[in-house]
Symmetry: C2
Subunit: 453 residues, 2 copies
């Protein structure tokens, strides 16, 4: 048993002991080093570090009961967008990955080929349900986790949020009550509110997801019409819901005849490498509407999303037409070609590893630089961290102080309808790790100690 400070076996020793090549031994040590378990010392070999990551406590479950709130107007997003276009800004705000993580060279080759072979590529509307070639590829991938999905089940959208929006409009009317996780992605909250639907927040555990007892109570009390959930790589909590919880959610909503809008936008980024199942794969009644996009794994400017809407397919297709008519043709085409070529799966492997590494680097920097008592989520995928600061910290003050230093973060209250999560922030780790980000986190840590409520 090795302890912190011990010297790890040399590469040759490890190679002999474990019957692996020296290269494999080196890769293992580098993997451990990247995650902070080992430390490489020049000319001395590898040493065991304080087992850092496992010491970082995760955020607590904030106990609260289901409640209804109206959403306040938000100028914060405005700042975050401006910063996203400002090269001087350090963006821990918007949930974006670094441009150099995308396979732009390959995609540009595909684009050139499309332009060359079909000069009229964009001359027609790709009317709903959208490009057949792309729908075939999406159905093929989806059928791995949900047998029987065909291209006729898929409707192309302008990203995942349009999919969620169309799903909601297909199943609920203005005034209807919609259950959501708390905390959850602010875009979902704002979308529901903008359609005049009522938001019912269900307390959500950092690993086990939505409290199903509370959800059941809310269904009875508020006559919930639909439930929006993000079971895979939750935004902002980061968990991948265990299959038994996914099944339980599908069973509960199925019994109550409540539609489920499942936002799976980060599902391809689950870091353990196996594609997690969806709630939809446990759906027996066609009540689950699966929404996703390629905006977290391929360049988001293509705006290619999709929806598999079960029994609501025809209505979703109609609503897509009467809202945005059709989606961008070239975006659909280039993504379809990339999927068809097999390039997407190869790319995903690299991307997941790169992102997991970035997330771990940010986690460790936060643990190092933030005030004592800070707790950090251990996401099962995606590039978002949910950070609980010491109780008296005011994340809105921290947000403003950081903005003055050209650093964006998202304060906790934007992830709910009320004023909860005052001492929480969400940190995007999509950017390639560098000293610039490390320094920004050092500064953020200092500002956090000063941002008292």
């Amino acid at each position: 048993m090795l302890r912190a400070g011990d010297r790890a076996p040399s590469l040759r020793e490890l190679s002999r002991q474990q019957r692996v090549s020296v290269t494999t031994a080196l890769q293992s040590y580098m993997w451990l080093e990247n995650r902070g378990y080992l430390e490489a010392r020049a000319r001395s070999g590898f040493f065991v570090r304080q087992p850092f990551a496992s010491e970082i406590p995760e955020p607590q479950f904030e106990v609260s009961s289901a409640r209804e709130r109206s959403l306040g107007v938000d100028d914060i997003m405005q700042d975050v967008f401006s910063a996203a276009n400002d090269p001087a800004a350090i963006g821990f705000g918007a949930g974006c990955a670094s441009p150099d993580l995308f396979p732009s060279r390959r995609l540009n080759l595909n684009l050139r080929r499309i332009i060359h072979r079909d000069p009229l590529h964009s001359s027609r509307y790709d009317f709903p349900p959208g490009s057949e070639q792309l729908r075939r590829q999406i159905a093929r991938r989806a059928s791995d986790i949900e047998p029987g999905v065909s291209l006729r089940d898929v409707v192309i959208t302008d990203g995942a949020l349009e999919a969620v929006s169309l799903g909601l409009r297909a199943v609920a009317r203005p005034g209807d009550a919609i259950a959501v996780e708390s905390p959850t992605y602010f875009g979902i909250l704002a979308n529901i509110a903008s359609m005049g639907m009522k938001i019912i927040e269900i307390p959500t555990h950092p690993q086990e997801g939505m409290d199903l007892n509370e959800l059941e109570r809310a269904i009875r009390k508020h006559r919930i019409k639909a439930c929006v959930t993000m079971p895979n790589c939750h935004n902002p909590l980061g968990y991948v819901l265990p299959d038994k919880h996914k099944r339980a959610l599908a069973d509960l909503t199925g019994r109550a005849n409540v539609a489920v809008i499942e936002d799976d936008v980060y599902g391809d980024l689950a870091s353990d490498g196996t594609r997690p199942r969806t709630v939809k794969s446990f759906d027996k009644k066609g009540l689950v509407i699966l929404c996703s996009s390629f905006s977290k794994t391929l360049p988001p400017g293509f705006r290619v999303g999709w929806i598999i809407a079960g029994r609501f397919r025809a209505e979703v297709e109609r609503l897509k037409f009467v809202t945005t008519v059709a989606s961008n043709s070239l975006g659909q085409r280039v993504v379809a070609d990339f999927l068809e070529s097999g390039g997407y799966d190869r790319h995903l492997k690299r991307l997941r590893t790169a992102i997991a590494l970035q997330v771990e680097n940010v986690r460790q920097a936060i643990a190092r630089y933030f005030p004592a008592g800070t707790r950090i989520s251990r996401p099962a995928g995606g590039h978002l961290l949910w950070v609980e600061l010491p109780p008296k910290t005011d994340s809105l003050k921290l947000y403003q102080a950081a903005l003055a230093e050209h650093i964006t973060i998202l304060p906790g209250p934007v992830f709910c309808c009320g004023n909860r999560y005052r001492n929480y922030i969400r940190i995007n780790c999509g950017h390639k790790w560098s000293e610039v980000y490390e320094r920004a986190l050092l500064k953020l840590g200092r500002l956090a100690s000063e941002a008292r409520a």
Copy 2:
């Protein structure tokens, strides 16, 4: 005074008489020939034809009072979309222009240059309000008719219908009453209905637009929150509203504090070559929301639209984010480059002439082949004809009979909420004129005589 059958002056005579070059004289004769006023006979010169176009009667004003209806579900659009993807079908249904009318070669050169110079072109979200380069170009063009518009007033959307939808959501809530022209574009009707707003149809004159007395009555009676109007190249009526009517509409709604959603999507296609003014240019209170796109003048698969929302700009920007997050990056970029280069204006000139010619060809074929008593609109721009068939004709039957022959049209009732316009159809003339279309219209004419209610 020349009569039908007379020989027109020779080109040399005309050139001398009118003091223009022989080339100009020839161009005039060709213009007249294209429109059916002259007939060229081999080696004999030009002869005056039966003044064909002016003999075709236009549809009558259907007198009705403002009323409220709920929109029925529509499978017709489904057929029209399927036909749009069916190479064997003759599409007089969807409002599309022929792919070869678009400057694809130039646009593809621009695309290649963008890909070459900025390989990361799509790697970021173009968060609202969207590409600055594109907004600058749109503002520059808009300021020709409405001085003082700046790029800060413009928000990029996924086409014009998303712009209309965002405008409506910014000014009205579910349950609110919205005034629309009758007949009007079915996409607008379906969009309003899908948001749970009430549609109040205002009788609309084929040249003078919405009946303003009826509108004023409706504003008082139904507490109208917004009025959707298409003053330039109306869909389906085809008129360009005279400036005094535009001013009167802006004054009336301004006095009543009613927002105007102005759909100007066909505005660049006014066939007399001068850019018609907008209602927005008469707006003194920031209550007019101008919506448009490049989908009728450039390849619609780019999905590039925009909105100038006056005092509602911030809310529109917020709603854009919470619904579709951002618009496609490459589409915005390629359109912006084309506008910047001046190519768009040169292209518009050619496009307007080509479309006006196609429309006139279709008009004449309809006049030739359709049952006696048929009346055809004389559009001031765009590529849509509104055709009034003899009173007993059932356009839904005609629609179905035509579909069986792989010909799509749009029956009148889809342009209103009730079951009016039973003996009307809309004919798209976006396709390059050819014998195929002539034969299809011959067939359609026969079917129309048989489609009795």
